[in-house]
């Protein structure tokens, strides 16, 4: 394997995951929170593919593709909720959404 060893990928993935987690914890806009969740999912995907290469088995890549499909589904539902909020003229701020009644 040319280039960096697995440790570098693990550390990069940890930094990416922490960045995404900071976005989820600190931002108010639900759109940016969804985007930060994408960063976290991609950090885990990077780790899956790196260890798949380390062990020489493709199962990690299969799992990464499944994670992509789950992320796409999560986006559809999250964006549907955000569009519903926008149509009701609710302010897009997760701190101000205290009830989930329809």
């Amino acid at each position: 394997m040319h280039g960096p060893d697995i440790q570098w990928y693990v550390i990069l993935s940890a930094l990416l995951f922490a960045t995404g987690a900071l976005g989820v914890m600190l931002r108010r806009s639900p759109l940016i929170i969804l985007l930060s969740v994408e960063i976290m999912l991609n950090a885990s995907n990077l780790l899956l593919i790196a260890f798949s290469r380390l062990h020489g088995r493709e199962d990690g890549q299969i799992f990464a593709i499944s994670v992509m499909a789950v992320a796409a589904s999560e986006d559809v539902v999250g964006l549907g909720l955000i569009v519903a909020m926008g149509r009701r003229n609710v302010e897009l701020d997760v701190d101000k959404l205290r009830t989930l009644r329809g």
Partner: protein
Amino acid sequence: MANFLVWCVWFVAAFACLVSALAVVSFRNPFYSALSLIGNLASLAVLYLLLAGEFVAAAQVLVYGGAVMVMFLFVIAYLGDRTEESPWSGGPSWQVLGAVAAGGAVLTEVIVVVGLSAGGFLSKPAHIERSFGTPASIGRLFLTDHLIAFEVTSIVLLVAAVAGVVLGAHARRLEGDARA
């Protein structure tokens, strides 16, 4: 020489990845955040290529960078300009708490990695065939060993599509009520 080139590509991609992730988290306007996430996904695809994940890299660019991000940009454009007054939640103590939690997670992971590599668990990458990660071999695995994961994924996508339609119809009904 090849090794040096791979290291250069790796550093450029990793740097782009981290910078664009920080940009996603820190931009005020969600439109710019979504655009920088596209850069993040593209640089991750470069790293996947370095790890012999050719099919996953292509799927990442096509499905994620293409389809999903276009959906995001459409929703952001539909909602219009909503630049936030105060984009960061809570008081200063919350930001300190978040930074400490994220920093602690990174530190733990770095310690674990250093320990594992000192113990010799991470040293030798396995030898791989030329066909590793190609669409043919991924597709064969999906239709033999991981058939259940494949089918469950299709059901998950179907349920998500139904959920999107239901949420949209519900919002439209509310809009109709408001107009009447």
